[in-house]
Amino acid sequence: MSQLEIKDLHVSIGENAIVKGFSLTINSGEVHAIMGPNGTGKSTLAKAVAGHPDYTITRGDVLLDGQSILAMQPDERARAGLFLAFQYPSEIPGVSIANFLRAAVQARMAEGEELDATGYYKRLYSKMDLLKIDRKFTSRAINDGFSGGEKKRCEILQMAMLEPKFSLMDETDSGLDIDALRIVAEGVNAMRGGALGILMITHYQRLLDYIIPDHVHVMWDGRIVKSGDKSLALELEAKGYDWVKKELAKA
C-alpha cells in the first residue's frame, strides 16, 4: 500500500504564483479526478510534482510513502514510482519506442542486472495488443509524426510497461476522438485498482464517463475548492464552472 501526499503546495513559474496551497492525498488503488477551467494550475501541479525544472515549489511538500520527493531529480522521482502522462508528449526523432522503453525499464533494474529481452518483448507486445497499437510502432521514433491519439496511446503504453505507483494523467483526453478515447480508457481501466493510484486531470467531464473516478475535486485559482464523488463531475457538467465561481463568491 502506497500513498502520495501533496501538502499545501505552492508553485511558481518565474514570478507568477500558479498553484496556491494545494493539498490532496491519494492511496494505491484510488482514482482521483481534478477538474477545473483552463489556467487554474492543473497542469502546473502535475509538472511540478514530476519535478519539471521550470516550476519552483515555494511552499509545501510532496511525500511519497512518507518521504519528501522535492529534493529528487525528475528521473529519480520517476524511478521512485511517479508517472506523468503528458498533455503534450515530446517528439523525439530518431529514438525508437522499443529502445527507449527498454532503456527506461533497464534504468529501474539494479546495477549489473540484465534485462531479459524475450520476457520484455513478450510483455511489451501484450500491452500493445491491449491498447490496439500496431507492432510496427515499436520501431518508430517516440511520438515523431504521431497523431494525437497515437501519442496518448503511446503514453498509456509506457505507463503500462513502467508500472508506476502513482500516475498523474494530464488532460489525457485532449486531442482524442471518441474511438481513441475508448481505447485509452480501456487501457487505464485494465490497470486501475491494485497497486496503482491515479490522478486524472481533465477539463471536460466526458473522460470520466469512461474512467469512473472514486473522488472528484474542483480546482480553482491554484487549489481545491470543492470535493465529492463522481456526481460532482456531473453537476459541474450541468451547471458549468460559473457555478463554482458563484459558490465561491458566496462563501
Binding site: G51, G94, V95, A104
Partner: protein, 482 residues
C-alpha cells in the same frame, strides 16, 4: 600509452639503408630519444624528402614526384582566406616527417614487436580481423607494422599492400592512377603529402571480384611532434566491389601533431567502393585530409566519414562522376567538443549525363565546439539528367556551441536538378524532461537524443562500427549537460 623508447631494440642503422648523410636526426626539440631505426629528423627540406625516398629504395620517378610536390607545397599559401586561421598555428619546422622501425610490415601478429602489438591489441585490431575482416593493415607512425590479407581473398587476385611495396612491385597497375585523382597541386596539404607520403594502403580488386568482408587499415600515431602522411589508392576494376574501413587514434600530447593523408579511389565501370572512416584522433591533432574518388560508368563510390576527434579536421570527401549513371554518396557525421573544430563536408563534381549524388551531413556541437559544413556541388554545361540532393543538419547542445554551413552549388543547364536543405536544431529541455520522467538520467536522455539524431546514418555503418560510434559519442557527451 606505452612509451616506445623503452621497447624498441636499438639496432645500429645499416649504412646502405640509411645513406643520407648530413641529416642530424637529433636536431629539433623533440622529446623522445631517437630509438626509431629510421628518422628523418625535425623540419622539412629537400634532404628530408631524399631521405624518405632513399630508405624506401624508391624508383627515381617517385623521388622526382616528391621533389616537385615539395616545391608546390612551399609555394602555395595557406588557404586562410576561406579556412580557419588556426592553420597558421601549424609549425612545419617542428614536425618529424618520417619515423619507422623498418619498411617491411609483418605478415603475422606473432612477428610484430610486442609493444607495437600491445597497442593494436588494446585497440582490438587482431580480434576484429579474426571476426569480420578480409585483411588488415596496421600503420604505426610512418610505416605499416602489420599487413595481411586472407588467403582466400588474395587468391582472387586482390592486391593489398602499402604504398612503398605497391609502387615497387606493381607499378603497371598503380602508377597509372597514382596522383591522377588528386593532383599534387590540388591544395597545400595534398602537395605536402605528395612530398613526404609513407604508408597507407594500395588496393587493386580485379574485374568482377566482390570482396565480401571489409579490408581495414588502422592508423596509429605514437610519437610526439609527428606528422603522419599516409597515401591510399584503391582501384576497383570493372564490376568489382570493396568495402574499406579505416580507423585512427593517437595519444594526447601537449604539442600539436599533424595528420595529412591523400586518399584516391578509382571505381571503373560498374564497380562499387565503400570507404568508411571513424576518426578519433586526440585533441592535439591537425587532421587535414584530401579524399576523392573517380566513378566511371555505372560505378558507385560511397564515403562514410565520421569525425569525432582531432583539434581541427578539414576534410571534404569528393566524387568525380565521370561516367554515365555514376553515383556518388557522402554520409558525414561530425562531433565537435570543446577545443575542436570539425570542418567537414563533401564535393560532388558531375562530369557525365545522368549522374547522381547524395550528401547527408549531420554534425553535433558540444560545449564550445564548432562544426562547419562546406560543400561543393558542380554540374557543368550540357549535361543532362544529373541530380544532387544534399541535406545538412546541425545539432547544438550547449548555449555556446557553434555551427556554420557553407554549401556552394553551381549548376549549368536546365536538364538537371539540385536540392539542398539545411537545418539547425537543439536537444530541447522538454525532450530531456520527458525522458527523465520515464526514469532515465539526464545524461542517458541526452545520449539517446544525440544518438537518435544520427541514428539513420549510423545504421549504414557495419554493425561493429556503429556500436563503436555510439560508444564514442556517449563518451563525448559525458558532462555536456547541466
Amino acid at each position: 600509452m606505452t612509451n616506445l623508447t623503452e621497447t624498441i631494440l636499438p639496432e645500429a642503422p645499416d649504412a646502405t639503408e640509411n645513406p643520407v648523410a648530413g641529416i642530424d636526426q637529433t636536431k629539433g626539440d623533440f622529446q623522445y630519444k631517437v630509438d626509431y631505426e629510421f628518422d628523418a629528423g625535425t623540419g622539412l627540406s629537400e634532404d628530408t624528402v631524399r631521405y624518405i625516398s632513399s630508405v624506401k629504395k624508391e624508383a627515381p620517378w617517385i623521388l622526382e614526384f616528391r621533389l616537385k610536390a615539395l616545391k608546390i607545397f612551399f609555394d602555395k599559401p595557406m588557404p586562410t582566406h576561406w579556412a580557419t586561421k588556426d592553420l597558421e598555428n601549424i609549425n612545419f619546422d617542428k614536425i618529424r616527417y618520417y619515423l619507422s622501425q623498418g619498411q617491411k610490415p609483418k605478415r603475422t601478429w606473432e612477428e610484430v614487436p610486442d609493444d607495437i602489438k600491445r597497442t593494436f591489441e588494446r585497440l582490438g585490431i587482431p580480434e576484429q580481423e579474426r571476426k569480420f575482416l578480409a585483411g588488415v593493415e596496421a600503420q604505426f607512425d610512418s610505416e605499416a607494422a602489420y599487413s595481411n590479407i586472407k588467403e582466400i581473398v588474395a587468391k582472387q587476385g586482390v592486391i593489398f599492400a602499402n604504398s612503398t611495396e605497391a609502387l615497387r612491385e606493381h607499378p603497371e597497375i598503380f602508377r597509372k592512377f597514382f596522383g591522377k585523382v588528386i593532383p599534387t597541386g590540388d591544395n597545400k596539404f595534398s602537395a605536402l603529402n605528395s612530398a613526404v607520403f609513407s604508408g597507407g594502403s594500395f588496393i587493386y580488386v580485379p574485374k568482377g571480384v566482390k570482396v565480401a568482408q571489409p579490408l581495414q587499415a588502422y592508423f596509429r600515431i605514437n610519437a610526439e611532434n609527428f606528422g603522419q602522411f599516409e597515401r591510399t589508392l584503391i582501384i576497383a576494376d570493372e564490376g568489382a566491389e570493396l568495402t574499406y574501413m579505416e580507423g585512427c587514434t593517437a595519444p594526447k600530447f601537449s604539442t600539436s601533431t599533424l595528420h595529412s593523408a591523400v586518399v584516391e579511389l578509382v571505381a571503373l565501370k560498374g564497380a562499387k567502393i565503400q570507404y568508411i572512416t571513424v576518426q578519433n584522433w586526440a585533441n592535439n591533432v591537425f587532421n587535414l585530409v584530401t579524399k576523392r574518388g573517380v566513378a566511371h560508368e555505372n560505378a558507385t563510390i560511397k564515403w562514410i566519414d565520421c569525425n569525432i576527434g582531432s583539434r581541427l579536421t578539414m576534410k571534404y570527401p569528393g566524387v568525380v562522376l565521370k561516367g554515365r549513371k555514376a553515383r556518388g554518396e557522402v554520409i558525414s557525421i561530425a562531433l565537435a567538443n570543446d577545443g575542436q573544430h570539425q570542418d567537414t563536408g563533401a564535393k560532388m563534381i558531375h562530369a557525365a549525363d545522368e549522374t547522381t549524388s547524395n550528401i547527408v551531413a549531420k554534425s553535433i556541437s558540444v560545449g564550445q565546439g564548432r562544426s562547419t559544413y562546406r560543400g561543393v556541388v558542380h554540374i557543368p554545361k550540357h549535361l543532362k539528367g544529373c541530380k544532387n540532393n544534399t541535406e545538412c543538419d546541425a545539432l547544438l547542445i550547449n548555449t555556446n556551441s557553434r555551427t556554420d554551413t557553407y554549401p556552394a552549388i553551381t549548376v549549368r543547364g536546365e536538364a538537371n536538378s539540385v536540392q539542398h536543405e539545411a537545418s539547425v536544431s537543439k536537444v530541447s529541455a522538454e525532450q530531456i524532461f520527458y525522458m527523465q520522467q520515464r526514469g532515465l538520467t539526464e545524461a542517458q536522455a541526452m545520449s539517446l537524443s544525440v544518438n537518435g539524431f544520427i541514428n539513420d546514418l549510423a545504421s549504414q555503418f557495419p554493425m561493429e562500427y556503429s556500436v563503436e560510434l555510439k560508444r564514442l559519442i556517449d563518451l563525448e557527451m559525458e558532462g555536456s549537460v547541466g
